[in-house]
Subunit: 337 residues, 2 copies
């Protein structure tokens, strides 16, 4: 069987195109098929001799300062849109971009479209829980104002993602709230609860960040505004904790030796909690596999993004989400029609 | 001058009344005037000989499992309401409670009322920033659905709090959002921006959690749902980080010695980042000084809560918030009328 490559938007990201090209080369050496999408004249010279990396030429790019959806709309041949088109035309298995998230969203909607029945695509990721498991969180910013039906669909998409990507048999899904007691939650939470209860998922009700991160569930659903604030708060807290710890260690006698002895543990800690370790997020609900990479991605992050996108395409997450959404919309129609 | 005592709701909290009484005794030894409010027959035997702690008898209590506002409404002589009444009648300078936050809210509204012009009281706290400063965050859960005018008033109350309590001359106030770029933010953020811009504060626009926690501003305003999720996410992240670090340290050769050498630094780190270190929050916008303590408070936390409430009462934070809200509502009326 001819394995389709992962299309990389080679022009997107703070360190593009050098990081995207280097990451692509590492992926190729790793046996992963890739397709670099971008300006061939820029990309070709960056590829070292002795390695074959196919390029799909895209003459235009989207800058970080532009209105992303406007720029993507007016430039059909910008790299992110050409890469999305390659997925739509089945010439690539997945799209990976480290550029502007809004541009990636717009390009995915224009070229791939939404899965049947999906009202809003969502950005999804998995975070480390304290019990060693992982917590799937969505939406992380694609939809800052959500209706109850959107949150219901996020529950279905998150559940499939946890099952396919994290291999959790029956993922517990919670709705992010400020408390699990009766009467807690805002208007949105109270309106979304019955919708989530009606979905064909293992819905456990409202959950607080603390309970979710300590193993209370596998999936947390929320609107993109709250999800984005939660994700960024978690990242910021880890950053603040690191800064405070470094300050307290500096200038304490013996502490420098202590740190040397803890080097291995600290490195393992960092690799489990850093944003790059968490890697990218996925855009779910569009008709194709789309990885939303971190803008600050280096070659290592690009390589790992390609690996994750390839695996998600192999797992057929998108097809499974499509089937689950159909089932959630029409639960009474038998499968054998 | 006769210094009024801090009224302690002695019956509220996971470890009440032993923790509240012990904390009160420590406060008295520390020279702080306190007034224990609760069932005298229960409290009196807990006070050691040789120390004078006045008791204001309140025969009823509010349980954690009850509907807080209903319970407080139907029991005029419950401890939290009697304590609030003591503040209203000027027999106490401030109210401190470690019981149900909803009950404390209800008791404060019933007995103290709102400051003139304040639409919604808010829960406020200060968090450690990575640059050594502190970040004032409100609302933390009193109002899960907010109008733009509420957020505007939170900006004014947060600014006064930062000035009086954190001694920041001209606090920078930000509105919590998922990005500071044009077009980011949800409907609520977009509607609140012009209101906050019109307030007599140093408003800097939308801020993300990361920027705020790394020193970008002194005050962050948001609705109580988002603020609660943000606060709990920060606490949870610190908890997860600690668990992961302990796991990585355990079972690594040499790490145990490393930890011994780092003991001082780790203790200082914990004291700067733990929830008990942060202490309680305040309820601002009501006509009196009210400290919302942590339910899990031990005697040390009770003692420090009393000290903070006493200091806030001395700083006359409530009076200053009242004046600032009046100014914000009628900015054109000269002061000399």
């Amino acid at each position: 069987m001819n394995v389709r490559p992962v299309a990389i938007d080679a022009m997107g990201g703070d360190h593009a195109p050098s990081a995207t090209v280097e990451g692509a080369c590492r992926a190729v050496r790793d046996g992963l098929p890739v397709l670099l999408v971008g300006d061939e004249a820029v990309l070709r010279p960056l590829i070292p001799r002795g390695i074959e990396v196919p390029i799909l030429h895209a003459p235009e790019t989207v800058g970080m300062a532009e209105s992303p959806s406007g720029a993507v709309r007016s430039r059909p041949d910008c790299s992110v849109r050409v890469a999305a088109r390659a997925v739509h035309e089945d010439r690539a298995s997945a799209l990976v971009s480290f550029g502007n998230t809004g541009a990636l969203m717009a390009a995915s909607l224009m070229e791939l479209g939404r899965l049947d029945g999906v009202e809003r695509p969502a950005v999804i990721t998995a975070l480390p829980r304290s019990d060693g498991g992982q917590l799937v969180l969505l939406d992380l910013g694609a939809n800052v104002d959500c209706k109850p039906s959107h949150l219901g669909q996020f529950g279905v998409m998150g559940s499939v993602f946890a099952r396919d990507v994290l291999q959790v048999a029956e993922p517990r899904v919670g709705l992010l709230s400020n408390g699990h007691e009766e009467g807690k939650g805002n208007e949105q939470v109270r309106a979304a609860l019955p919708v989530l209860e009606s979905m064909p998922i293992h819905f456990i009700g409202p959950v607080e960040p603390h309970d979710a991160l300590h193993g209370g569930c596998e999936v947390v659903v929320c609107d993109g505004f709250v999800g984005n604030v939660m994700l960024k708060s978690l990242e910021a807290a880890i950053g603040v904790a690191g800064t405070v710890l470094r300050e307290e260690i500096a200038g304490r006698p013996g502490a420098a030796i202590g740190i040397k002895l803890l080097q291995g543990a600290l490195q393992a800690y960092r690799s489990r909690t850093s944003a790059t370790a968490i890697g990218g997020a996925f855009l779910v609900g569009v008709n194709g596999t789309v990885l939303v990479g971190h803008g600050a991605a280096d070659a290592t992050a690009v390589h790992s993004g390609v690996r994750r996108a390839h695996a998600a395409a192999e797992e057929r997450v998108t097809a499974h989400i499509g089937a689950a959404i159909s089932e959630a919309l029409c639960p009474s129609i038998p499968n054998d029609t």
